[in-house]
Protein backbone atom coordinates (compact mmCIF):
# COMPACT_ATOMS: atom_id res chain seq x y z
CA UNK A 1 0.00 0.00 0.00
CA UNK A 2 2.55 2.54 1.10
CA UNK A 3 5.10 2.21 -1.67
CA UNK A 4 6.60 5.44 -2.91
CA UNK A 5 7.62 3.93 -6.23
CA UNK A 6 4.07 2.77 -6.89
CA UNK A 7 2.70 6.16 -5.87
CA UNK A 8 5.05 7.98 -8.20
CA UNK A 9 4.24 5.56 -11.02
CA UNK A 10 0.51 6.14 -10.56
CA UNK A 11 0.98 9.90 -10.29
CA UNK A 12 3.04 9.98 -13.43
CA UNK A 13 0.45 8.00 -15.36
CA UNK A 14 -2.49 10.24 -14.47
CA UNK A 15 -0.47 13.46 -14.56
CA UNK A 16 -0.60 14.47 -10.91
CA UNK A 17 2.29 16.11 -9.09
CA UNK A 18 3.10 16.86 -5.46
CA UNK A 19 -0.04 15.22 -4.03
CA UNK A 20 1.74 12.54 -2.00
CA UNK A 21 0.42 13.95 1.28
CA UNK A 22 -3.21 13.47 0.27
CA UNK A 23 -2.50 10.01 -1.07
CA UNK A 24 -0.74 8.99 2.13
CA UNK A 25 -3.64 10.34 4.17
CA UNK A 26 -6.02 8.17 2.17
CA UNK A 27 -3.89 5.05 2.43
CA UNK A 28 -2.76 5.39 6.04
CA UNK A 29 -5.92 4.31 7.91
CA UNK A 30 -6.69 1.19 5.81
CA UNK A 31 -3.02 0.26 5.99
CA UNK A 32 -3.05 0.56 9.78
CA UNK A 33 -6.17 -1.61 10.04
CA UNK A 34 -4.62 -4.17 7.71
CA UNK A 35 -1.39 -4.22 9.71
CA UNK A 36 -3.26 -4.72 12.99
CA UNK A 37 -5.38 -7.56 11.61
CA UNK A 38 -2.45 -9.30 9.97
CA UNK A 39 -0.32 -8.78 13.07
CA UNK A 40 -2.93 -10.34 15.32
CA UNK A 41 -3.35 -13.25 12.91
CA UNK A 42 0.39 -13.78 12.77
CA UNK A 43 0.72 -13.66 16.54
CA UNK A 44 -2.09 -16.20 16.90
CA UNK A 45 -0.49 -18.51 14.35
CA UNK A 46 2.92 -18.20 15.98
CA UNK A 47 2.04 -18.53 19.65
CA UNK A 48 -1.11 -20.66 19.77
Amino acid sequence: MIALTDMLAGEAVIGVKNRERQILKGVFVPCTIYLILVGITGMLMAYI
Binding site: A3, D6, M7, G10, A12, Q22, G26, C31
Partner: protein
Protein backbone atom coordinates in the same frame (compact mmCIF):
# COMPACT_ATOMS: atom_id res chain seq x y z
CA UNK B 1 38.27 -12.79 -2.74
CA UNK B 2 38.07 -12.61 -6.53
CA UNK B 3 36.15 -15.86 -6.62
CA UNK B 4 33.58 -14.50 -4.18
CA UNK B 5 33.34 -11.30 -6.20
CA UNK B 6 32.87 -13.21 -9.45
CA UNK B 7 30.24 -15.49 -7.94
CA UNK B 8 28.40 -12.48 -6.50
CA UNK B 9 28.40 -10.77 -9.88
CA UNK B 10 27.13 -13.94 -11.56
CA UNK B 11 24.43 -14.34 -8.93
CA UNK B 12 23.39 -10.70 -9.36
CA UNK B 13 23.28 -11.15 -13.12
CA UNK B 14 20.94 -14.13 -12.92
CA UNK B 15 18.67 -12.40 -10.36
CA UNK B 16 18.52 -9.30 -12.56
CA UNK B 17 17.83 -11.47 -15.60
CA UNK B 18 14.94 -13.10 -13.75
CA UNK B 19 13.41 -9.69 -13.01
CA UNK B 20 14.10 -8.58 -16.58
CA UNK B 21 12.14 -11.55 -17.92
CA UNK B 22 9.17 -10.64 -15.72
CA UNK B 23 9.17 -6.96 -16.72
CA UNK B 24 9.65 -7.91 -20.36
CA UNK B 25 6.55 -10.09 -20.08
CA UNK B 26 4.60 -7.20 -18.56
CA UNK B 27 5.63 -4.79 -21.32
CA UNK B 28 4.83 -7.43 -23.93
CA UNK B 29 1.40 -7.91 -22.33
CA UNK B 30 0.84 -4.13 -22.34
CA UNK B 31 1.83 -3.88 -26.02
CA UNK B 32 -0.63 -6.62 -26.95
CA UNK B 33 -3.37 -4.87 -24.98
CA UNK B 34 -2.61 -1.59 -26.76
CA UNK B 35 -2.50 -3.20 -30.20
CA UNK B 36 -5.78 -5.02 -29.65
CA UNK B 37 -7.35 -1.85 -28.19
CA UNK B 38 -8.60 -3.92 -25.29
CA UNK B 39 -8.44 -0.97 -22.87
CA UNK B 40 -11.11 0.84 -24.91
CA UNK B 41 -13.37 -2.19 -24.60
CA UNK B 42 -12.85 -2.71 -20.88
CA UNK B 43 -15.75 -0.45 -19.93
CA UNK B 44 -18.05 -2.37 -22.29
CA UNK B 45 -17.17 -5.70 -20.73
CA UNK B 46 -17.43 -4.25 -17.23
CA UNK B 47 -20.91 -2.95 -17.97
CA UNK B 48 -21.78 -6.33 -19.40
CA UNK B 49 -20.65 -7.88 -16.14
CA UNK B 50 -22.39 -5.36 -13.91
CA UNK B 51 -23.73 -1.84 -14.24
CA UNK B 52 -22.95 -1.11 -10.59
CA UNK B 53 -19.81 1.03 -10.64
CA UNK B 54 -18.78 -0.27 -7.19
CA UNK B 55 -18.55 -3.79 -8.56
CA UNK B 56 -16.64 -2.47 -11.55
CA UNK B 57 -14.19 -0.83 -9.16
CA UNK B 58 -13.77 -4.12 -7.28
CA UNK B 59 -13.17 -5.98 -10.52
CA UNK B 60 -10.52 -3.50 -11.61
CA UNK B 61 -8.89 -2.67 -8.28
CA UNK B 62 -8.91 -6.21 -6.94
CA UNK B 63 -9.18 -8.86 -9.66
CA UNK B 64 -7.38 -7.13 -12.48
CA UNK B 65 -4.80 -5.51 -10.24
CA UNK B 66 -4.03 -8.76 -8.43
CA UNK B 67 -3.76 -10.49 -11.77
CA UNK B 68 -1.23 -7.93 -13.01
CA UNK B 69 0.58 -8.06 -9.68
CA UNK B 70 0.72 -11.83 -9.96
CA UNK B 71 2.07 -11.79 -13.50
CA UNK B 72 4.22 -8.65 -13.49
CA UNK B 73 4.43 -6.69 -10.25
CA UNK B 74 7.04 -4.01 -9.62
CA UNK B 75 4.53 -1.14 -9.64
CA UNK B 76 2.86 -1.99 -12.94
CA UNK B 77 -0.60 -2.75 -11.41
CA UNK B 78 -1.03 0.77 -10.05
CA UNK B 79 0.23 2.30 -13.28
CA UNK B 80 -2.21 0.24 -15.36
CA UNK B 81 -5.32 0.28 -13.18
CA UNK B 82 -5.32 3.93 -12.04
CA UNK B 83 -6.18 5.35 -15.50
CA UNK B 84 -8.94 2.77 -15.83
CA UNK B 85 -10.42 3.87 -12.50
CA UNK B 86 -10.19 7.50 -13.58
CA UNK B 87 -11.98 6.47 -16.76
CA UNK B 88 -14.80 5.09 -14.64
CA UNK B 89 -15.32 8.58 -13.25
CA UNK B 90 -13.45 8.51 -9.96
CA UNK B 91 -11.46 11.58 -8.85
CA UNK B 92 -7.77 11.15 -9.57
CA UNK B 93 -6.66 11.03 -5.93
CA UNK B 94 -9.39 8.54 -5.00
CA UNK B 95 -8.50 6.40 -8.00
CA UNK B 96 -4.86 6.38 -6.99
CA UNK B 97 -5.68 5.58 -3.35
CA UNK B 98 -8.01 2.73 -4.34
CA UNK B 99 -5.43 1.35 -6.74
CA UNK B 100 -2.83 1.44 -3.96
CA UNK B 101 -5.24 -0.26 -1.56
CA UNK B 102 -5.88 -3.02 -4.08
CA UNK B 103 -2.16 -3.53 -4.49
CA UNK B 104 -1.67 -4.69 -0.91
CA UNK B 105 -1.99 -8.31 0.15
CA UNK B 106 -1.09 -9.90 -3.15
CA UNK B 107 2.27 -8.14 -3.29
CA UNK B 108 3.75 -10.85 -1.10
CA UNK B 109 2.91 -13.42 -3.76
CA UNK B 110 3.29 -11.12 -6.76
CA UNK B 111 5.81 -10.64 -9.53
CA UNK B 112 5.54 -14.25 -10.68
CA UNK B 113 6.33 -15.40 -7.17
CA UNK B 114 9.64 -13.57 -6.90
CA UNK B 115 9.30 -12.79 -3.15
CA UNK B 116 8.40 -16.41 -2.40
CA UNK B 117 11.16 -17.80 -4.56
CA UNK B 118 13.68 -15.44 -3.00
CA UNK B 119 12.43 -15.89 0.55
CA UNK B 120 12.07 -19.66 0.33
CA UNK B 121 15.19 -20.21 -1.75
CA UNK B 122 17.06 -21.81 1.14
CA UNK B 123 13.97 -23.28 2.75
CA UNK B 124 13.41 -27.00 2.26
CA UNK B 125 9.63 -27.21 2.05
CA UNK B 126 9.58 -31.01 1.77
CA UNK B 127 11.71 -31.27 4.94
CA UNK B 128 9.38 -28.91 6.81
CA UNK B 129 6.35 -30.88 5.67
CA UNK B 130 8.13 -34.11 6.59
CA UNK B 131 8.55 -32.82 10.13
CA UNK B 132 4.78 -32.72 10.48
CA UNK B 133 4.28 -36.14 8.92
CA UNK B 134 3.75 -35.22 5.28
CA UNK B 135 6.33 -36.55 2.86
CA UNK B 136 6.15 -35.29 -0.71
CA UNK B 137 9.58 -35.30 -2.23
CA UNK B 138 8.39 -33.39 -5.32
CA UNK B 139 7.46 -30.29 -3.30
CA UNK B 140 10.12 -27.69 -3.93
CA UNK B 141 9.90 -23.91 -3.67
CA UNK B 142 9.09 -23.77 -7.38
CA UNK B 143 6.30 -26.30 -7.05
CA UNK B 144 5.15 -24.48 -3.93
CA UNK B 145 4.96 -21.35 -6.04
CA UNK B 146 2.52 -23.08 -8.39
CA UNK B 147 -0.01 -23.01 -5.60
CA UNK B 148 0.37 -19.27 -5.55
CA UNK B 149 -2.11 -17.79 -3.11
CA UNK B 150 -3.00 -15.28 -5.81
CA UNK B 151 -5.72 -17.79 -6.62
CA UNK B 152 -6.96 -17.37 -3.06
CA UNK B 153 -7.10 -13.61 -3.46
CA UNK B 154 -9.03 -13.91 -6.71
CA UNK B 155 -11.46 -16.25 -5.02
CA UNK B 156 -11.75 -13.86 -2.05
CA UNK B 157 -12.51 -11.02 -4.44
CA UNK B 158 -15.20 -13.11 -6.13
CA UNK B 159 -16.80 -13.88 -2.79
CA UNK B 160 -16.63 -10.21 -1.75
CA UNK B 161 -18.31 -9.10 -4.95
CA UNK B 162 -20.90 -11.84 -4.63
CA UNK B 163 -21.76 -10.83 -1.07
CA UNK B 164 -21.82 -7.17 -2.00
CA UNK B 165 -24.21 -7.76 -4.84
CA UNK B 166 -26.65 -10.19 -3.37
CA UNK B 167 -26.53 -9.15 0.30
CA UNK B 168 -28.25 -11.59 2.57
CA UNK B 169 -29.46 -13.79 -0.27
CA UNK B 170 -26.05 -15.23 -1.05
CA UNK B 171 -27.33 -18.76 -0.70
CA UNK B 172 -30.13 -18.26 -3.17
CA UNK B 173 -29.69 -20.75 -5.97
CA UNK B 174 -31.21 -18.48 -8.61
CA UNK B 175 -28.70 -15.73 -7.92
CA UNK B 176 -25.88 -18.26 -7.88
CA UNK B 177 -27.01 -19.64 -11.24
CA UNK B 178 -27.30 -16.15 -12.72
CA UNK B 179 -23.85 -15.26 -11.41
CA UNK B 180 -22.31 -18.43 -12.83
CA UNK B 181 -23.99 -17.88 -16.21
CA UNK B 182 -22.69 -14.32 -16.36
CA UNK B 183 -19.23 -15.42 -15.27
CA UNK B 184 -19.22 -18.16 -17.90
CA UNK B 185 -20.31 -15.72 -20.61
CA UNK B 186 -17.59 -13.25 -19.64
CA UNK B 187 -14.96 -15.98 -19.62
CA UNK B 188 -16.01 -17.19 -23.06
CA UNK B 189 -15.82 -13.63 -24.41
CA UNK B 190 -12.37 -13.14 -22.95
CA UNK B 191 -11.19 -16.41 -24.47
CA UNK B 192 -12.69 -15.45 -27.82
CA UNK B 193 -10.63 -12.24 -27.68
CA UNK B 194 -7.49 -14.15 -26.82
CA UNK B 195 -7.95 -16.63 -29.64
CA UNK B 196 -8.88 -13.99 -32.16
CA UNK B 197 -6.82 -13.81 -35.32
CA UNK B 198 -5.83 -10.29 -34.35
CA UNK B 199 -3.63 -11.74 -31.64
CA UNK B 200 -1.49 -13.40 -34.30
CA UNK B 201 -1.29 -10.19 -36.31
CA UNK B 202 -0.40 -8.31 -33.11
CA UNK B 203 2.46 -10.69 -32.44
CA UNK B 204 3.64 -10.15 -36.02
CA UNK B 205 3.38 -6.35 -35.54
CA UNK B 206 5.35 -6.62 -32.33
CA UNK B 207 8.07 -8.68 -34.01
CA UNK B 208 8.27 -6.16 -36.85
CA UNK B 209 8.38 -3.29 -34.34
CA UNK B 210 11.14 -4.97 -32.34
CA UNK B 211 13.20 -5.80 -35.43
CA UNK B 212 12.82 -2.27 -36.85
CA UNK B 213 13.90 -0.77 -33.54
CA UNK B 214 16.93 -3.04 -33.50
CA UNK B 215 17.74 -2.05 -37.08
CA UNK B 216 17.49 1.64 -36.22
CA UNK B 217 19.69 1.11 -33.20
CA UNK B 218 22.34 -0.54 -35.32
Amino acid sequence: VLDVLFISYANGFFVAFDIFIIIFGAIFFLKIIQELEVIKNVSYYLEHFSRDYRIQIIILAWFFENFIEWTAGFGTPVAVVTPLLVGLGLPVISALVIALLGNSASVVFGAAGTPIRTGFARFDVSLALGSIGISFSFITPHVFNLFNPGFAFIFAGLVTMFIWKSGKRIFSSSIANAFLRRFQTSCSEIFSILWDKRLVSTLACYCRWASSGRRQAT
